[in-house]
């Protein structure tokens, strides 16, 4: 029964038991460990950005990113270096973000600086990348979480549907259907933010 305390316990049980397995995996050879560090240095920003897109709050970002890279380290020896790295990392980030978000207490809070409804610009008028990025991050929170990786990987990161399908271990057809739905969610979320922005500006000018 999804969402019941009992199932949460069971899930935690499985997670912790398997975490044990991860802890007992052998250490990486030196060359791989160095490769891991290179990956960490080059991809931390991308992983953090991905976690933000998946709704991880700024206050928890470092803790979740740390957990992602610990898991990446554990699985690093199994990675196929001929496959693109980032989709593989997104899969880790998505699962960690999902777990994180499953806890109802973890909600995204935007400070005023990043709140796109605080902007005086419409989505079409957003002048700077920073404004646009804030709007995208906010609108992504309106996209159903299971659809979000497909949207971010395809429409932001530019991965092909087959790469996405492989990384998320879902059929290509599912990638396409989720992408359609995710775009619709995103469109509605941007429109909603725009409505809130207009209402806020009208309220401000009426004072």
């Amino acid at each position: 029964v999804t969402g019941s305390p009992r199932s949460s316990q069971a899930e935690a049980s499985v997670s912790r038991t398997a975490a044990l397995a991860a802890c007992t995996s052998p250490p990486l050879p030196a060359a791989l460990d160095r490769a891991f560090e290179e990956v960490f240095r080059s991809e931390l920003s991308y992983v953090c950005r991905t976690l933000r897109r998946f709704g991880v709050d700024e206050a928890d970002l470092e803790d979740v990113a740390q957990a992602v890279f610990v898991a990446v380290h554990h699985r690093f020896a199994e990675r196929d270096p001929s496959r693109p790295l980032r989709p593989w990392l997104v899969a880790f980030a998505y699962r960690f973000a999902s777990n994180h978000r499953r806890l109802a207490r973890h909600r995204v809070t935007l400070d005023d600086e990043l709140d796109p409804t605080a902007s005086v610009h419409s989505p079409e008028e957003c002048a700077s990348d920073r404004e646009r990025q804030a709007l995208v991050l906010a609108a992504l929170q309106g996209v159903k979480l299971e659809r979000r990786p497909v949207l971010t990987m395809h429409d932001i990161d530019g991965f092909t549907p087959s790469e996405i399908a492989e990384a998320l271990e879902i059929p290509v057809n599912t990638v396409y259907s989720r992408l359609r739905l995710a775009r619709q969610d995103f469109r509605l979320a941007v429109a909603e933010i725009e409505r809130s922005r207009v209402a806020r500006n009208e309220k401000g000018s009426a004072r």
Binding site: A12, S45, R75, R132
Partner: protein, 263 residues
Amino acid sequence: MNHRLPPIEPHLEELLRAESRFPPESAEREDRVFAAVRTHLGTGTGTGGPPDEGGAAPRTAAYPRLRLPAIASWLGGAMIGATLGSAITLALVSGAPRTMPPTAKDAIPAELEHEVVSAAAEVDAPLEQPPAPAVHEAEPLPDPVVPAPVGPEPRARIDRTSDEAALAPAATDPAQTLRDEQRIIEAARAALAERSYDAALEALARHRARFAGGALAEERDALIVRALAASGRLERARAAAAAFERDHPESFYRRTLERALAP
């Protein structure tokens, strides 16, 4: 199935394109997270990886290789916080892509299976009224900075095995000592991520009692400041931050703490 996608509106496309030009994280954050990852893995904070086979430098604790009794009691102790999860350990596997073994049981060596299954069954037990460890209450908090829990019982009663570890004779094996430290710090970090500040502080006090000058003392002291600040006890947080600055003047956690204390 029709794989053709309808075109996306130009202004939305432009927004999404802008998001692909996201700014990099700061070097401080990179260092902090990397150090935390290394601490968790027990591989130190140096830039080099583990030595090659036959290399001179021993790894103090490659991966945390948990002894079975510790594993079982750790899993049992972890049940208390099971519904809340842990930012690190809970997500270790469910956060990993499905290239991991399909079930945890499959991943456990046969000789470990019995203990793990018992521990997992314990984790599935009801959470109501976990027995409070009598000895723990008798143990004085060593640091006046760490407050006693106030108000309702903290939601995340964490890692009772740490109590046992605190009472056990000091481990002579440095790797085991580090693992014991890690377990407590990890529990505190998980509680902090879940905003169970009293539970986090409780764990940190236990760490200080057991490992005052331990390898993870710096991380512990930083977490104390963060937990106090996050729970709104700002005066105590500032006092703890001042002590931290005195004890760890070169720490790269200092900037994090400054941010945690910023108005």
